[in-house]
């Protein structure tokens, strides 16, 4: 218990910003006699170098002393006081900056008496918190300098190639027999206009010339995944053998599947109605017949059933339209669309170029989709032109249905194995906008079309970015669990279970947003156990524990109780 920790208080006048409103003499009197307070000083500006030295010099034994500073808010100067003290060897955990400026003197400038009372309360609360603070448990983690990459499409290959060049050993697992993912199905890649072999060849060479730097397991099947950032254990089967590997980080690059039109626009019933991939097959085989081609966009997507935009289909159709023109410059090519999604400079230019080459665009409305006409073969497409409000009939030899990407059927299973969340469409969820590849599980990154449909160029970029994030995690050597994160320098506090008191009810397991709590057998009974690497110190578990056996040592129920008491001590 930390009750015997002696507290040294410092009050900051802030050159009058605090002392002008708050009667610091009265505050000092009230605090000096407060239990646990060993000394109290009033200074002019605790945040400036001159006072900082005094402050540090009063702390003889940093482990046994708590500092309570009555100063400004953490976000004003408090942060820097704590950082500066840390440089002088005083752990930020032992420094409580109590905000009596932004949170008191500045907002109660018309009420000096009340502000003084409040300042006393706030400082007593700070003292209570420091007195009842306990040092959190810590584990040291030495991340395994190997990375698991799941999926050998453009995202996975670029991640693997990048990591191996950084000297990191990579395990590249893929369900397919040969690497390349969806790119293998197409003849040329947009907007770069190269063949799929050319597109990834350099990266593939890097991988396969890496002298064992990359272990590639084609046609493999994932069995299980355990562990947390820095040390995951993954087992899978490849051929007849089962493998179990240890890695420091995981990159999920499983991609997406191409949706089949499911009878839409008479696909399957009418000769000449193709999907984009079926058209690619014809390109690859060099057998394209007919020179009147109509592309229909948003097939089976941006509708009630799949209310999302798959982002890549417009560019794919533009590419295919141009390829038709490559084969026959006299071809008549129409793209029936609902919006052409070509954001940015490169894609917009791609769109302009297609227009310049003679591809014609026609906008249709969602509730008046085109109708494909013909008896055995496609004859024409009837469409309501949303821009001119006219019905048009376009003669066609081929109708190409541009279908979206959708999550793989086993996306749910992989999500479960790696603790990923999925969005309403089934794609993997990531953290905030500023952390677009990180998932709720530290050390697991998602890139490529598994998180959202992307073109090859974005998949490659995301693969590289994911490689960077993985490298950040595993390249730093041994780290305390509280610092093992790619999105912040330090976690707040890590939860601790009193195993004697724990009844094994499992409430904490159910609520933990990081899957850090689990029930394990301890001396014959199930007890909650906290994975300190996963724990982020939010305190969700604390609030659902029926008997207080799980606590944040830095912010225990007892500390909060004492703070509440401190509020009520005066004037009641």
């Amino acid at each position: 218990m930390g009750n015997d920790r002696s507290i040294r208080c410092f009050l900051c006048r802030c050159h009058g910003e605090i002392s002008r409103v708050i009667d610091l003499d009265e505050v000092a009197r009230a605090l000096k006699s407060h239990p646990g307070v060993r000394s109290l000083d009033v200074r002019n500006s605790l945040c400036l170098e001159e006072d900082m030295d005094v402050l540090a010099s009063r702390v003889e034994d940093p482990d046994a002393t708590g500092l309570v500073l009555g100063a400004c808010s953490l976000y004003a100067r408090g942060d820097r006081i704590r950082t500066a003290l840390e440089e002088k060897g005083i752990s930020p955990d032992t420094v409580e900056v109590v905000d009596i400026r932004e949170g008191c003197s500045w907002i109660h400038h018309g009420q000096p008496r009340e502000a003084t009372t409040k300042a006393i309360d706030l400082l007593r609360m700070g003292v209570a918190l420091q007195r009842h603070r306990e040092n959190p448990d810590e584990v040291m983690v030495d991340p395994v300098r190997e990375v698991f990459v799941l999926g050998a499409g453009p995202a996975g290959i670029s991640a693997a190639a990048s990591l191996v060049r950084l000297g990191v050993r990579v395990h590249l697992l893929d369900r397919a027999k040969s690497p390349g993912g969806l790119l293998n199905l197409v003849k040329r890649i947009a907007p770069e206009d190269v063949t799929s072999d050319e597109y990834l060849s350099q990266k593939q060479q890097t991988i396969f010339a890496s002298n064992g730097g990359v272990s590639h397991y084609p046609g493999a099947k994932l069995i299980s995944a355990h562990g947390s950032a820095g040390d995951f254990t993954i087992s899978f089967s490849s051929g007849k053998t089962e493998h179990a590997i240890r890695v420091g980080a995981v990159i999920v690059a499983t991609g997406a599947k191409i949706l089949m039109p499911d009878g839409l626009y008479r696909h399957g019933n009418l000769e000449g109605v193709l999907t984009g991939i079926e058209l690619e097959r014809r390109f690859k085989a060099g057998q394209l017949e007919g020179n009147r081609v109509v592309f229909i966009q948003c097939v089976g997507v941006r509708d009630r059933k799949r209310p999302y935009c798959s982002a890549i289909c417009c560019i794919v159709s533009l590419k295919q339209a141009c390829q038709v023109l490559d084969v026959d410059p006299q071809a008549e090519v129409f793209v029936l669309h609902r919006d052409i999604m070509c954001p940015g400079s490169v894609l917009e230019k791609y769109y302009r170029d297609a227009m310049a080459r003679g591809v014609r665009f026609l906008r249709y409305e969602q509730d008046r989709p085109p109708v494909v006409l013909g008896d055995e073969n496609v004859d024409s497409v009837e469409v309501y032109d949303a821009l001119t409000s006219e019905m048009r009939r376009i003669k066609a030899d081929l109708v190409v249905l541009s279908t979206p990407l959708a999550p793989h059927d086993d996306a749910g299973r992989i999500a479960e194995l790696f603790g990923l969340n999925r969005d309403e469409h089934g794609f993997y969820e990531v953290r905030t906008l500023m952390h677009p590849l990180e998932t709720k599980r530290e050390g697991v990154f998602v890139c490529g079309s598994a998180r959202w449909p992307v073109l090859g160029r974005s998949a490659v970029l995301q693969g590289e970015a994911a490689a960077m994030k993985a490298y950040e995690l595993i390249s730093r050597g041994t780290l305390a669990a509280s610092r093992l994160s790619t999105y912040r320098e330090r976690k707040f506090s890590l939860a601790r279970v009193d195993h004697e008191a724990c009844t094994g009810c499992g409430n904490c397991v159910a609520v933990c947003p990081y899957d850090a709590c689990s029930l394990e057998k301890k001396e014959g009974a199930l007890k909650s156990t906290v994975n300190l690497i996963r724990c982020s110190g939010c305190g969700s578990c604390v609030s659902v524990c029926p008997n207080g056996s799980i606590q944040l040592p830095g912010h225990s129920a007892m500390a909060i109780g004492e703070m509440l008491k401190a509020v009520c001590e005066q004037g009641s």
């Binding site: 939010c538 305190g539 109780g561």
Partner: protein, 164 residues
């Protein structure tokens, strides 16, 4: 945008209900930043509230709220991130639901559930923080203190009440 910040407008002294005490659990990622902003703007606020910073409002257990009332506090505000904008994978959502469940419970023991105030998302909107605090403080100021009966009742109810 050059403002001189001395928000000289509403300097008002809240005298009625001055003895009441209000505790505000503020999430460090959002509400606390709003509080900081209100301070920087020197917005004049009633002096009856005390802020307890928490990493996430999901840390605030029903018991902490109940203990606040048993300890002699008259109003509890829990202020976190925008629902859906939590730094801890949506932990605040669960917490929000839990606190809603607590409200009818408070009513049944004679603690007006309006004494438990929840608000989500004020980081960048310091004036919203100020408004929320101001209206909550004045609301509590208009109410009588929590009755001794209710306080003792919830004390008995609280599992961890006074047994340290």
């Amino acid at each position: 945008m050059t403002d001189r910040t001395e928000d000289s407008g509403n300097i008002q002294v809240v005298l009625e209900g001055a003895g009441r005490k209000i505790v505000v659990f503020a999430c460090t990622w959002c509400a606390l930043i709003g509080a900081d902003g209100a301070g920087k703007k020197r917005i004049s606020l009633p002096a009856t509230f005390r802020v307890i910073p928490v990493e996430c409002i999901s840390r605030v257990e029903a018991d902490a709220v109940i203990r606040a009332f048993t300890s002699g506090i008259d109003g509890v505000a829990v202020m976190g991130c925008h629902l859906g904008g939590c730094r801890h994978n949506g932990a605040n959502l669960r917490s929000a639901r839990k606190l809603e469940l607590l409200k009818p419970l408070l009513d049944t023991v004679g603690i007006d559930s309006r004494r438990l105030f929840t608000s989500y998302g004020t980081a960048h909107e310091y004036h919203q923080f100020a408004q929320a605090i101001e209206s909550f403080c004045s609301q509590i100021g208009e109410m009588p203190p929590v009755s001794a009966w209710s306080r003792s009742f919830v004390r008995a109810m609280s599992a961890r009440g006074e047994n340290e």
